[in-house]
Symmetry: C2
Subunit: 125 residues, 2 copies
DNA sequence: GCTGTAATTTACTAAAGGGCTAATTAACCG
DNA sequence: CGGTTAATTAGCCCTTTAGTAAATTACAGC
């Protein structure tokens, strides 16, 4: 299929799945309890599918207790994802610096801010 | 469409796109130069599409220089992704600890490791 | 104005993703 | 055994995605 990192990132690329993980941070729960907040938006089989994706990505582990399937968070795959991102830490900070400089420019208390803004947008680099 | 975080994660959920970002860490380049390592696997329009995804996610910025389109890395969206992951840091460490404990168990030089393993699998919690 | 180079757009296909309903499995309980 | 609850599977549908080949835009330079 695809590599681990891709599977991890693509599992995280959905708000419902991220919400499920957030729920599991508070501890083990069953499928119906996980599904409960979403049932106005989607059906139970829908949630089951999302759980399957998270399970395949290794982010969730299902066990068995009678007819219940207690799900637990397994954050281990996030380590690789975090490690990948770590490589871009310098670049993230650089981006924030650029943003900071820009904000400093536009919020500067000089008398004619309008001209400054236009100038910053239209000038050639 | 979808939220920023989802767009970021789903942009990262592809090895080609991650490789493009890795390339851009070494500095600004044109589309053909970015595409060069992938041309055995896919065509130029294919790479253009991937770049479009990265651009839509705000991870890449294209400028214009005659007929060239110099692309630059913009890691800023990774900040939100990293912040999201940060919340799971404790859980990642916990997972690593569990893994460490497990490895310690299986590599322990005790005489009857087989029974231990079977016991751990079949016991009721 | 022609020619070559850089890159994108268009139009199409196949596969994957996310959702649904209905049916099925599995277990408990009385 | 029969009913109930928990969860999954199966079979669809529709949209998005990833890829291609061919056409098109945009620019440089002679």
């Amino acid at each position: 299929m695809q590599d681990t990192l891709s599977r991890t990132f693509s599992a995280l690329a959905d708000p419902t799945r991220r919400a499920i993980l957030a729920r599991l941070r508070r501890g083990e729960t069953t499928v119906t309890q996980i599904a409960e907040p979403f049932l106005e938006r989607m059906t139970l089989p829908g949630v089951t599918k999302h759980l399957k994706v998270l399970e395949t990505a290794g982010l969730v582990t299902k066990s068995r207790d009678a007819q219940w399937r207690p799900c637990t968070l397994n954050a281990e795959p996030l380590n690789d994802a975090a490690a990948w991102m770590q490589e871009y830490r310098v670049h993230m900070e650089a981006s924030l610096d650029r943003l900071g400089e820009y904000l400093k420019t536009v919020s500067t208390p000089t008398p004619e801010p309008t001209d400054d803004v236009i100038d910053a947008r239209t000038r050639k680099p």
